[in-house]
């Protein structure tokens, strides 16, 4: 079983106080603690669990600066076999589409039976990279995956839908599965384990190694441009609508109309 897991090194923002940086298009990260994206942690655990059961190899791929090696070493300590970090000045400013292109640049030449990603990243929250990557590779995919059963030539997965519903789906393999949190319980990795994982292979590749052109990645290769990032102002007024469904709906329409929004 050859499994590739795509991970992202992200700032932890749940407890932190967030401030906008001087460009107005990002957040200040100096005082933030970075770690593996939570969803990706579950994806790595799932890959290692599958490997422990069926044998094989787990390869971790990320796009990021040297600091992301911390996340890669953690993945290696969890039981992954090798890691690849894709890095280049030209990659700066890549959106989900350009990031998927970069990942595709290396994954297209790697053997795999399964690709796992997190469903989304805790920082930008686009939830697109996995799906676009599957598109580039021309393989089927499933998102919000809460359970994976591997069969001969296909995999049966449970997807988490709104309102607590689960959908069971069969996906032909090789496939890309974007994993939802809670699919397993990610293991703890000890500091000793991370130190030992230094012996495992960690390869660094750049733009030229992937056969990509500068204009295909970064801002110029992206479909999305960030215009501005801001912290939503705290509003002073809130109106809670009461009444039956019809009454509330017409009140909403009325309000939106009155403000020229529809």
């Amino acid at each position: 079983m050859e499994i590739i897991v795509c991970v992202k090194h992200v700032p932890e923002t749940a407890e932190a106080e967030i401030a906008i940086d001087s460009s107005g298009k990002g957040i200040k990260t100096e005082d933030l603690v970075f770690d593996i994206n939570e969803w990706d942690d579950y994806a790595v655990e799932e890959a290692v669990l599958i490997k422990e059961k069926l044998g094989g190899r787990v390869t971790i791929v990320t796009v990021g600066s040297e600091d992301a090696d911390k996340t890669l070493r953690k993945c290696l300590a969890k039981g992954a076999d090798r890691a690849i970090r894709l890095t280049d000045k030209a990659f700066d400013g890549s959106d989900a589409y350009a990031t998927a292109k970069i990942l595709y640049g290396v994954i297209k030449d790697l053997p795999f039976d399964l690709i796992l990603t997190g469903t989304q990243a805790g920082d930008d929250g686009y939830a697109q990279v996995g799906v676009i990557l599957a598109g580039f590779l021309g393989i089927p995919h499933a998102t919000m995956v809460k359970k994976i059963e591997l069969m001969e030539g296909f995999t049966r997965v449970n997807r988490e839908l709104e309102g607590g519903l689960e959908q069971v789906m069969e996906v032909g393999t090789p496939a890309l599965l974007a994993v939802q949190t809670g699919i397993n319980e990610p293991r703890y990795v000890s500091i000793m384990g991370i130190r030992k994982a230094r012996q495992k292979e960690l390869k660094v590749l750049g733009l030229n190694d992937l056969g990509l052109k500068e204009e295909e990645v970064g801002e110029s290769g992206s479909w999305i441009t960030v215009e501005e990032m801001f912290i939503p102002p705290v509003e002073k007024e809130a109106e809670i609508l009461v009444g039956g469904l019809d009454a509330i709906s017409s009140k909403i329409v009325e309000t939106l109309r009155a403000r020229g929004l529809i």
Binding site: E12, E15, A16, E17, D31, V33, D35, K78, E185, R187, Y188, V189, S190, I191, M192, G193, I194, R195
Partner: protein, 379 residues
């Protein structure tokens, strides 16, 4: 299997264990858990000497290892000095290396690694408890003669913060010059090593020693017996550290403390494991309590060397097990001796008793307070 850990356990002489069972008999947790130190001593001997006929111990299935509070009663009572608690900590490290850690404990370890505290709270909020208090923060300009090491619980937990504030008020009232590390302070690592995470502990200890050196720290006084124990016995370097009970008992001996108020209540005292059983500090806290005017001091039925753990140590602040908490039993003992206040000298005791008083429905009858709170009220 992590050979280094096994080697560490191997150093303990298992031939010394005569299977008398005193360890299990005195373990406060074993009546409600599968934790059986005596059996672990025997089975660990099998683990390290495969020549026996017994089946090998499958340590990865021994989840009850997390139930130990590292109260040290077993080590203290063992007639052969086998130190069962150290063996259990060594066995925990085998689970840690395998990543086989209950998720809440994994979160606590990660929290210390990333944010310097087991609750995983932001470093920038560590010194918020000081609010309007007069404190001096460590700075490159001045060497620190006396460092007040606050600790994680007293920095972040709103109930325990009251103790940190009381200590600062008391030191200021006595015109004692001291500094704190503020947001630069990091977990002492006592619970980390107790959980068997040796690599992380080494890293924390190294960083803390470097921080003490950077600010030229001469003497340290701690809120928590756990920090005190780590600095005194686990850092591999001699540090001039005192728990606050020792520090204030000395001030009483030197007649530097004059109380102006009084506490007209019956009080009793819970010996924290990391002061009492681990470090033989029984008299100093009692000296402070008994010097406070107006109060009547009653010992608990089981006190001093026979004192019973509150169940807050060894990582148990972040890991619960089924059954009544030991602190609830202690609350009943305190009521039996007619106490209106259970006095403690450890933030973990403070928090476990605070809970136990509520869960046992005794909020109207008894309170828990730290010694430093009583001193602040009467100075």
């Amino acid at each position: 299997m992590a050979m280094e850990e096994l080697a560490a356990i191997k150093k303990l002489d298992f031939n010394m264990c005569m299977q008398c069972g005193k360890c299990t008999g005195s373990c406060p947790v074993s009546p409600k858990s599968k934790l059986n130190p005596r059996r672990f001593m025997l089975e660990t001997a099998y683990l390290i000497s495969p020549l026996t006929m017994h089946p090998p111990l499958n340590i990865q299935e021994k989840g009850e290892l997390w139930d130990c509070t590292t109260c040290s009663t077993c080590s203290y009572r063992c007639p052969r000095e086998v130190k069962p608690m150290d063996v259990l900590i060594g066995l925990r490290s085998l689970l840690v290396e395998a990543g086989n850690v209950p998720s809440t404990l994994g979160d606590a370890l990660e929290g210390v690694y990333k944010y310097g505290n087991p609750w995983g709270l932001s470093r920038s909020k560590r010194q918020e408890w000081t609010q309007d208090l007069k404190v001096k923060y460590a700075s490159e300009e001045e060497k620190i003669d006396l460092l007040y090491f606050v600790g994680c619980a007293a920095s972040y937990d709103s109930r325990a913060q009251v103790v940190a504030r009381a200590i600062v008020k008391n030191l200021n009232a006595l015109s004692i010059d001291f500094s704190i590390l503020g947001n630069k302070e990091t977990c002492c690592g006592n619970e980390i090593i107790s959980l068997g995470e040796k690599g992380l502990f080494e890293e924390i200890a190294g960083n803390n020693l470097a921080l003490f050196d950077r600010y030229g720290v001469q003497k340290i006084v701690t809120t928590s017996p756990h920090c005190f124990h780590a600095f005194k016995s686990r850092y591999g370097r001699e540090l001039a550290v005192k728990h606050y009970t020792q520090y204030f008992a000395d001030l009483i001996d030197e007649e530097k403390i004059r109380f102006s108020g009084k506490i007209g209540k019956v009080v009793t005292y819970q010996d924290p494991c990391f002061l009492g059983k681990h470090n033989d500090i029984y008299d100093e806290p009692r000296k402070i309590i008994e010097s406070i005017p107006g109060l009547r001091f009653e010992e608990l039925g089981r006190s001093g060397k026979r004192s019973v753990c509150c169940e807050g140590g060894g990582g148990r602040m972040w890991y619960d097990i089924p059954g009544e908490r030991l602190a609830e039993d202690r609350v009943r003992e305190a009521l039996d001796v007619g106490a209106e206040i259970i006095v403690v000298a450890c933030p973990f005791c403070l928090l476990t008793f605070d809970d136990a008083i509520k869960t046992s429905g005794n909020e109207e009858r008894i309170q828990v307070k730290d010694i430093m709170e009583l001193v602040a009220e009467t100075l």
